[in-house]
Every structure is written in structure tokens, then in C-alpha cells.
Amino acid sequence: MISIIKSKKILRRFFVGCISITFWICVWQWAYLAVGEEILVVSPLEVLNRLGVLLRHWSFWMTVILSMFRILEGFLLGIFLGTGFAILTEVSRVGSALLRPVIGIMKATPVASFIILALVWMKSSQVPVFASVLIVLPILWANVSEGIRKTDRSLLQMAEMYRFGRVGTVKKVYLPSVLPYFTAACTTGMGMAWKGGVAAEVLSSLPLSLGGEIYRSKIYLETTDLFAWTAVVILLSVLLERAMLCAVKAAGVRFGFYSGEGYDEH
């Protein structure tokens, strides 16, 4: 019975999502008609058409896959480093003092400021990865440290008394209480990784990259292409976000703690 309720819920959510997307596509069509300049806004239908054409070329898939791997690499690196940095800053006072300025710099410094320096050390195809890391890392860091700080002290005392050990305390107390913070950061971070990574691809107009295609569409004033490629970016980001949330949830269930809205759902 519970599974029926659940699948009903999923169906309803899917349905509501579809209606909402339809609504926004109507808004888009309206904007297209209102602006009336093909060079500024193109119609959704045309974009769909163009996507249909693009989909048929193998180069489309190469582009998508290469960009996706680049951005996923940046995202994962950002997650690992951000979580690592958060643990370091919360665990050690020296680590905290040393890392805080670095994170401050990462957050605020625009890519333009160090791109030349970065290009000396890395290939231009690595710059998007780097840009994604720089945007994901601070988000992860902020949330995970907040989660560590907000871990219930009374439960930590309990873990100490019952000698959970370091590993046990992390697994049984810290991980479950940091998980919602981590999940929230991952959700934001995935979108932002795309934003930052594709922006870097645009700047270096990398061949066989989504950003490169956006750059080309822009300088050749191919507005339909611009919209189509942007739609691909948005779609991929949303899909990967969903996939990642499922993965995090599955991992949570697998390791015996739950990240969902409440423990009731179990």
C-alpha cells in the first residue's frame, strides 16, 4: 500500500512538473511573439527543431559527453576538496587559520584574474574543470562546516561515552547530521558547476565543448543554435542533479542513515 502511495506521489509530481514546464514554454513563446526579433529570441518550436537536427550528428554526442565529463570532474573534485577543507577547518585550528583565506580568495576572485597564470600550468581544456572546482568548493565548504558545527553536542557526548571511536562517531553521528547540508550543497553545486564550467569553455571557446558551441553561436549570431545549446546545458544540469540526488539518497539508505525530509517516510 505504501508503495502505491509513493508511486502515486511520484506520478503527481511528474505531472505537476510537466504542467509547470508547459507554462514556462508558453511564456517563452509569448516573449518570442512580443519581441518579434529572431536575432534576440527564437521560438521554442524552432529550437526543438534545431535540437532534432543536432541530435543526429555524432559530434553533438561527443560535445555533450566531453563537456559533461569535464564538468563532472570539476564537480566531484569540488565536492571532495570542499568536504576535505571543511573537515580540516573544523578539526584543526591551524588548518582553519590557513585555509580560511584561501577559501575567501576562491570565492571572490574572478576567473579572469588568474586565467593567464592558470593557462601556464594547465591545458586550456582543463580550465573549465578548474573553474567548476572553484565554484563548487566554497559552497561545499560552507555547508559541510556548518553541518559539522551544528551536529548535536549531546549525541557527540553520547558517542564519546559509548566509545564509538573516531570512525564510529563519524559514521554514526557526523555523517547523518551533515548529510542534509551536504545534499543541499550538492544540489546548488551541480547547477553552479555547469554555470562556471560552461562559462570557462565559452571564454576559451574550446573545440568540442558546449561552451565552445555557445561561443560560436554567439559570434556567428546563430540565435537558434545559442538557445538550443543553452537548453542542452540546462537539461543536462537538471538531469545530473536528479541523478546525483538519487545517488546520495541511495548511499544514505545503504549506509544505514536517511537524508530525507523525515524519518517517518521509512
Binding site: 549531546s154 553520547m158 561515552m161 559509548y162 566509545r163 554514526k172 542513515f257 524519518y263
Partner: protein, 209 residues
């Protein structure tokens, strides 16, 4: 093993809770701390457990001691079921069966897979008791173990505690005179300072007001 508190002092924001307080504990039996709300009983247990530090004075004999502390609040892991909460304090080997057995002993075999927020107040308390006993510390700190329990459960829990911790030192904090009377060998009345009102280890058990 004998535990001694030597001229311990502790104050919060200038208000003294423990003031040059000394106490010698026997090596076995049940010592009951009795006293009005807010007098500092939980603070003493926390200090013995090493969770809070004294402003001055020392506590001797608790180093490396395995302590089962039944907290005044239940402190169950909200993201684990009742069963997993008990498993968490058991050595990995056979932990599942052992935990299930402990749940059975506190009458919660049916609630093994419920999360703390799905348990009633008294059920949560019993899980906490089962966890403290399952851990099997050499010293038991029991902070109001029987709160939220009905008379029947309370009797069963008292019996269980007595049976499972024979020969170990228990420090019991309770407001329940009958339970204190039933379980304790020594009863102290604590209100700023300690007054021994019953000492069953050396003398006859006697009724107190």
C-alpha cells in the same frame, strides 16, 4: 576500583553548583543521589563521566573506566531504528542478535524497526536503558532511569538492572523514593552539600522520610 571525588568545585557564570565537594564511593553496590530539582545531580554525573571538567578538585579512579551512562535525556540517534541504536554500542560480532535480545528484555521486540520519533516516550526510555545495559560498563551512571515509565515497566526495569549489573557500582539519580529505597545500598541527600541518609552497606536498611 574505588572512586573518589576530592574537594570538587564547579560553577556556571559565577553561580556555584558544586562547592568544595568530596565523596568516597564504594567499589560495588548502588549509590543513590537524591535531591531537589536543579541542585546539581546531573552535573556530578557529567563530571564523573568526564564530560564536564571541574573548576577545581579532582575525581580519582575513573580513568579508562568503561562507563554506561544513561543520560537524563534519552540521546537516541534519531536516524537509526531502536535496534540499530542498541547495535551501535555493541561489538560488531553478533551485534544484531544481541541487540534484538536486549530489546526483548525491555519488552520492545515489536518496535525493533521503529525510529525514535515513532516511539512513545516510555518506549524511548526503555531503548535507552537497554542500550546502557547492553554496553556493559563497569560503572553505571543512571540519571532518572524510570522517568516516563508505568509502574509495571518500572518494576521490570529495576529487576533487569539489578540482575544484569550485579557486582558493579551504580550511581543512581532519581526522584522516585520507592525505587531509590528498593535499589540503593547508600542514599545521599544532596542540596549544596551531601548528607548520608541511609547506609545499607554497613547498617540495616531503614526507612527515611
Amino acid at each position: 576500583m574505588s572512586i573518589e571525588i576530592r574537594s570538587a568545585s564547579k560553577s556556571y557564570h559565577g553561580a556555584a553548583v558544586l562547592n568544595n565537594f568530596s565523596l568516597s564511593l564504594p567499589s560495588t553496590g548502588t549509590v543513590c543521589l537524591f535531591g531537589p530539582s536543579g541542585c546539581g545531580k546531573t552535573t556530578i554525573l557529567n563530571c564523573i563521566a568526564g564530560l564536564e571538567s571541574l573548576d577545581s578538585g579532582r575525581i580519582i579512579g575513573t580513568e579508562n573506566l568503561k562507563i554506561s551512562y544513561l543520560f537524563q535525556e534519552d540521546r537516541l540517534l534519531p536516524w537509526n531504528t531502536a535496534l540499530k541504536n542498541i547495535e551501535a554500542v555493541l561489538p560488531r560480532k553478533n551485534s544484531r542478535a544481541l541487540a534484538a535480545e536486549w530489546l526483548r528484555l525491555v519488552g520492545l521486540e515489536a518496535a525493533a524497526d521503529k525510529y525514535p520519533c515513532q516511539l512513545s516516550g516510555g518506549m524511548r526510555r526503555r531503548v535507552a536503558i537497554a542500550r546502557a545495559l547492553a554496553y556493559g560498563g563497569d560503572l553505571l551512571l543512571l540519571d532518572e532511569p524510570f522517568q516516563r515509565l508505568d509502574a509495571g515497566s518500572k518494576d521490570r526495569m529495576m529487576e533487569l538492572i539489578e540482575k544484569k549489573t550485579e557486582g558493579k557500582l551504580k550511581i543512581l539519580v532519581t526522584h522516585d523514593k520507592k525505587a531509590a529505597d528498593h535499589l540503593s545500598d547508600i542514599i545521599y541527600h544532596f542540596d549544596g552539600k551531601m548528607i548520608k541518609i541511609l547506609d545499607n552497606i554497613n547498617s540495616e536498611r531503614q526507612h527515611y522520610t
